[in-house]
């Protein structure tokens, strides 16, 4: 088999494994605990006033069916997978009778857009600045940028988002701090609507970027400063190749390869950050949906979002993996 075919096969295998283990963790978490979600829902809905026992029994049966908790453990496991395979997570309890999949499909584009924009921006900017900082080591401005990036990097997404919320919500209220667009605005693709989308996106994107930049910056800086000491770079310099060209095609190109792998590896935590940030800014994506589902006690919605998150993130990693050979042709030669 050719090198690329083999590579493709192993990546697909890894994708299948991620999905398999991820879904199993979700199953174990929901089934290994002594707490019964059916009884919890019943307790919550019978808190006020008494309901006759037959009604409760009927409720128990339909909830069991709804949650896929009928039969033995193995039956439940099979049901669990079958539902994922057909994308049916049942109706949402908090927004009855809207199916869970509809709710998620409505929220997912927001999260995907937020993630794609902020990740691309952060990755490109961080690598660019980091590469420059590694190449021009004496530049004052770049060194200062490095310190700034390092200061924000270790702070978790929630705190950074929260700080931005305080600064731009209370101290200097110039940007919208909640929602994805101006409320009650008509959702057509008019200029005004797009402008409102952009304005609402600034703070979530900024908080994701502030945390993310440092990692790419520092990684790229140390990669570049290692590549710069290679003989071929010294040779190119002696041969009189333009410095900008050395930086672009000799140094950065080589140093970018591990950074692409790094992007695939950290996608899961970037996703975590995105849904946390969404919650802070009330952005209408999956994160906000997840938190409100927890508060509403909506079992099928929480489970559905967890499952879709696992599927979506592992699929995104697969996409990066498949694009990887474009940057590193050695994969094909193996």
């Amino acid at each position: 088999m050719s090198g690329y075919g083999l590579y493709l096969l192993t990546r697909l295998g890894q994708f299948a494994l991620v999905v398999f283990i991820g879904i199993n963790i979700a199953f174990v978490v929901t089934h290994a605990t002594p707490i019964d979600p059916v009884e919890q829902s019943i307790a919550a809905s019978t808190q006020f006033g008494s309901i006759n026992p037959e009604a409760i029994e009927m409720m128990r049966q339909s909830l069991k069916e709804l949650y896929g908790l009928q039969g033995g453990l193995w039956d439940q496991y099979v049901t669990f997978w079958r539902r994922i395979a057909v994308g049916d997570f049942g109706p949402s309890l908090s927004a009855f009778p809207t199916p869970v999949s509809t709710l998620i499909a409505r929220a997912l584009p927001w999260t995907v857009a937020l993630l794609v924009v902020s990740t691309l921006l952060t990755w490109v900017l961080g690598n660019l600045l980091g590469g420059l900082a590694g190449y021009y080591r004496r530049n004052r401005a770049l060194r200062f940028a490095g310190i700034l990036a390092m200061a924000f990097h270790p702070i978790p997404y929630y705190i950074v988002a929260f700080l931005l919320l305080i600064v731009f919500g209370y101290l200097w209220p110039v940007l919208p701090i909640s929602g994805g667009y101006t409320m009650n605005m008509e959702q057509d693709w008019s200029w005004e609507f797009i402008l409102s989308l952009l304005r609402h996106g600034i703070l979530p994107v900024a908080s994701l970027a502030l945390v993310g930049l440092g990692g790419w910056f520092m990684g790229m800086r140390s990669l570049v400063s290692n590549v710069v000491t290679e003989d071929y770079v010294a040779y190119a310099e002696l041969a009189g190749v333009e410095r900008s060209r050395i930086l672009r095609s000799y140094v950065m190109r080589n140093a970018l390869v591990p950074q692409v792998t790094g992007l695939a590896i950290s996608l899961g935590s970037i996703f975590n950050g995105a849904i946390i940030t969404e919650q802070v800014f009330g952005y209408p994506g999956v994160g906000t949906l997840l938190i409100s589902a927890v508060h509403a006690g909506d079992y099928s919605l929480v489970l559905g979002i967890t499952t879709v998150s696992i599927l979506a993130v592992s699929f995104a990693v697969l996409l990066i993996d498949l694009a990887y050979p474009l940057l590193d042709p050695r994969v094909k030669a193996r």
Partner: protein, 284 residues
């Protein structure tokens, strides 16, 4: 000890990291001298701004912020350390075995490992809380996070262990009849310990970050004071809108100090372990 002092003098990152963490740790130790138990409320006048009497002010629940914060940071730190220690055991086990065994065992373990790196943990932790609700406790969360948070460091440990496998002393060990367990624990473990220490810092940062996030949302045991739980209660009492800024400001300040301190320590330790980056440093 001498090298510690030398490092303190020569490496500014290391020095600032140590100072920051020492301040935070000292503050946490003050909790043992607190005049009030952590969960007592309405022991002082509520909503008093920071003053000579109440250094950090008081909360809307009539707690003195200074003493409450000492308990909160102590619990938060202990949480981070417990998760780090537990997950280190898993990471060491997987990393050392994969690196030493090689072959299909290595490939299998690393596939599982990469899976744990990729899976988005936050929704899973939220699901975990959702299932447990009131049964959620501090210890369970720590256990769960330790089970999920070992993978990245196992990969690092494995890469070091991989290079140890073909060293002469490993072969000497095998031929002199040491068991695999003995070789891993007595011969290989000391080599990976430096990297384990630096990843510990990052892991503490990671687990505290998630704990704060989950607590602020109310998805943990909200009766044990941690930094996240403090911010949660401040938000519940709409402290910012009410102008009680100190209730938010001091916990955030303290936790940010912890994060930056741990991070600086991890970075400078990495530099110490990897002499190549130290070389780059002296060039400047």
């Amino acid at each position: 000890m001498r090298s510690f002092l030398a490092l303190l003098k020569s490496n500014r990152q290391f020095a600032s990291g140590v100072v920051l963490l020492a301040l935070v740790a000292a503050f946490a130790c003050l909790s043992f001298f607190s005049p009030y138990p952590p969960n007592d409320s309405f022991v002082v006048a509520p909503d008093v701004p920071p003053s000579a009497e109440y250094w950090f002010g008081t909360t809307s629940r009539g707690q003195e912020l200074f003493w409450l914060l000492t308990f909160a940071i102590r619990n938060t730190l202990v949480f981070g350390i417990v998760v780090a220690v537990l997950s280190r055991l898993l990471a060491l086990l997987v990393g050392l075995v994969a690196g030493y065994a090689g072959g299909w065992i290595d490939r299998l373990l690393m596939s599982i490992n990469d899976t744990f790196i990729v899976i988005p943990l936050f929704p899973i932790l939220v699901l975990f809380y959702f299932v447990l609700k009131d049964h959620m406790s501090w210890g369970l969360l720590a256990l769960m996070m330790a089970c999920l948070g070992w993978s990245y460091d196992a990969r690092l440990i494995r890469s070091v262990a991989l290079s140890l496998r073909h060293r002469e002393f490993t072969e000497t060990g095998i031929f002199s009849g040491m068991s695999t367990r003995q070789i891993l624990v007595e011969e290989h473990l000391p080599y990976v310990l430096p990297i384990v220490f630096s990843t510990t810092m990052n892991n503490i940062n990671w687990s505290i970050g998630l704990e704060v996030t989950l607590s602020v949302l109310g998805f943990t045991d909200i009766n044990t004071p941690t930094i996240g739980v403090m911010i949660y209660w401040a938000n519940q009492h709409t402290a910012l809108v009410a102008g009680i800024w100190w209730w938010i400001f001091f916990p955030v300040l303290l936790v940010v100090m912890t994060f930056i301190g741990l991070f600086l320590l991890a970075v400078s330790m990495n530099e110490y372990i990897d002499p190549r980056s130290r070389l780059g440093r002296s060039e400047r």
